[in-house]
Symmetry: C2
């Protein structure tokens, strides 16, 4: 795990760690808002609504920190091309959320009506397309087609991961490796993109930019495992969404895949039938099994290993405030995961 200096041994929350990014992140909001203004009036209102649903802006924060970890400049500085790169990643992310909500038939996201609930699925499909297209227009404003290639490639991976996940719903034969590959595409790809584009804007050479891409990919993958665990054992108010959604939708996540490998005979039969949504009280029953076989802890353990790999990618990075913030974020996540059971 990355070294955390003694002065920081009191664990800081992500909002404390990321506080120095307040100014660049405010700039990011203005940038994204201005992009929405560029749409036709009827479309701009919709775009502002979905883009304004804040979210955690994890990917832009990762992009900003990656840039500053490479060039050592102060954390509260962010030049226009860097903000643009971060905005591109976030706009692709927002576009995928808009489409996700249509697919899930979700009516709420972060306590607000989804685009689909507000304007119907027709507008929402097209709105996601518009946001994605506008992100690519922005990507094409860089001097070389490299940014476009990376952005389009990452978007392709995200959608491919989601297609594979959808195709494998309720498929009890899904292996742990297949699951990890799917979430690496679905979530890791945009984290990788944010870190890579950020590093490039921070002047990283190809080797260092690739290391940051790897860091982002592994961090995103570990984060997705964590998120999948929370869907089973999180506190509803904390994570701001209804629990057990994956179970209802037939998404088999790491804890249940590990559980399936542990249980045998009649237990295997019962767990399988719960996962196939054949039990009204499925979630409570499943939680008993997950705890009996320590499957949540085993999944978190796997995520922590991935996190460790992520951290190792930044080993050769000079120690800067940004590097420290990345290391602290990793350490924070690691401790959160250590507490899961």
């Amino acid at each position: 795990m990355p070294q955390v200096s003694p002065a920081l041994s009191r664990r800081r929350s992500p909002s404390e760690i990321l506080a120095p990014l307040a100014r660049p992140l405010a700039g990011l909001e203005r940038f994204i808002h201005a992009q929405c203004d560029a749409f036709e009036p009827g479309v701009a209102d919709c775009a502002r609504y979905v883009a304004g649903n804040q979210g955690k802006r994890l990917r832009p924060a990762l992009g900003l920190l990656s840039a500053r970890a490479c060039d050592g400049r102060p954390l509260d500085e962010a030049e226009e091309p860097l903000l643009r790169a971060c905005a591109i990643v976030e706009m692709v992310h927002i576009a995928t959320l808009v489409h996700d909500d249509i697919m899930d038939g979700a009516s709420l996201r972060r306590s607000r009506l989804t685009a689909g609930a507000k304007w119907g699925k027709e507008i929402s499909v097209l709105l996601g397309d518009c946001l994605f297209a506008q992100a690519l227009v922005l990507a094409a404003s860089f001097p070389t087609p490299e940014v476009c290639r990376r952005v389009a490639g990452a978007a392709n991976l995200v959608c491919t991961g989601e297609i594979l996940q959808t195709q494998r719903r309720f498929d009890l034969k899904l292996s742990v490796e297949e699951y990890l590959r799917i979430i690496e595409m679905k979530t890791g790809a945009l984290f990788a993109l944010a870190a890579e584009l950020g590093a490039q804007q921070g002047g990283a050479n190809a080797e260092r930019a690739a290391a940051f891409a790897d860091f982002g990919r592994l961090l995103g993958t570990a984060y997705q495992v964590y998120d999948d665990c929370l869907d089973l054992v999180g506190a509803e108010k904390e994570i701001g969404k209804s629990l057990g959604a994956d179970l209802r939708e037939g998404k088999l996540t790491l804890p249940v895949l590990l559980l399936l490998r542990e249980v045998q005979d009649s237990e295997h039969h019962l767990v399988s039938s719960i996962l196939l949504n054949e039990h009204a009280t499925g979630r409570a029953l499943l939680l008993d099994f997950l705890r009996k076989h320590d499957a949540i802890r085993a999944a978190a353990q796997r995520a922590r290993e991935i996190l460790r790999q992520a951290a190792s990618r930044l080993d050769r990075c000079p120690s800067t405030p940004a590097h420290q913030a990345l290391a602290e974020t990793v350490a924070y996540l690691d401790e959160e995961m250590a507490e899961l059971k």
Copy 2:
């Protein structure tokens, strides 16, 4: 109207006009097929299915002819970058069709099951996204970001046009100018892109490429008016789709917008109620009104004017077999439109 040489005064069908493109268009099919193969196995099958639903390949044909009209090379020649540019445009088009079918809840396209009917809307939304993203990956393989910018910009326009169209369904206050602007975005943008990218690949300078973009935009707009007329008065077997779909979906097209300007008082009231889908026998009644007020012919006349503007954009083009084919296509469409009533 463009001059058609005496030897060609017997009107040739589009398939005769475009016959010399058989080889490049076969190359295009192979190219698109190979792009589908590049997806993950589970996605590749879906992509091949929707991409293989042939369609008329109007946009690639326009791109090929535009290139050869600029460089004067034989019609049956198509170098790889030109095929790639044409494939990009067609892949964006296919992606929009996949999303269109979801929005319309359509179960058949060109007599085959739609992606939505085959795999559900989840997979279809993502499949459209994947195809679009892959088109952008291809666009980023050109040496400058210019192609990406154009492709993403055109995709943005297409989706914006579709959003505006969706928002204005059943809106009897939609003006003719607004309708024309919407279809210019929805259909004109990809025709413009095909012609412009084709011209660029044929070595056109900026001025000539812009003239081809205008030609494509106007041609696409006129074609969409024609298609909208056919939705009302076409023969079901000829156009391969069920008639009156626009009426059912509340899409107000040029003939009905022109009709609305002609009718008064009780007629206006009745036509309005038909357009708002308040009559079981709406389509038959509406056709009577359209014919009584000559509104189909008036719409076709407007489309022919747009076609004339399109043709004028190629006035300064040297006479080549490709230019001749474009002029003949325009003349063919013009005669088809002249026959509408």
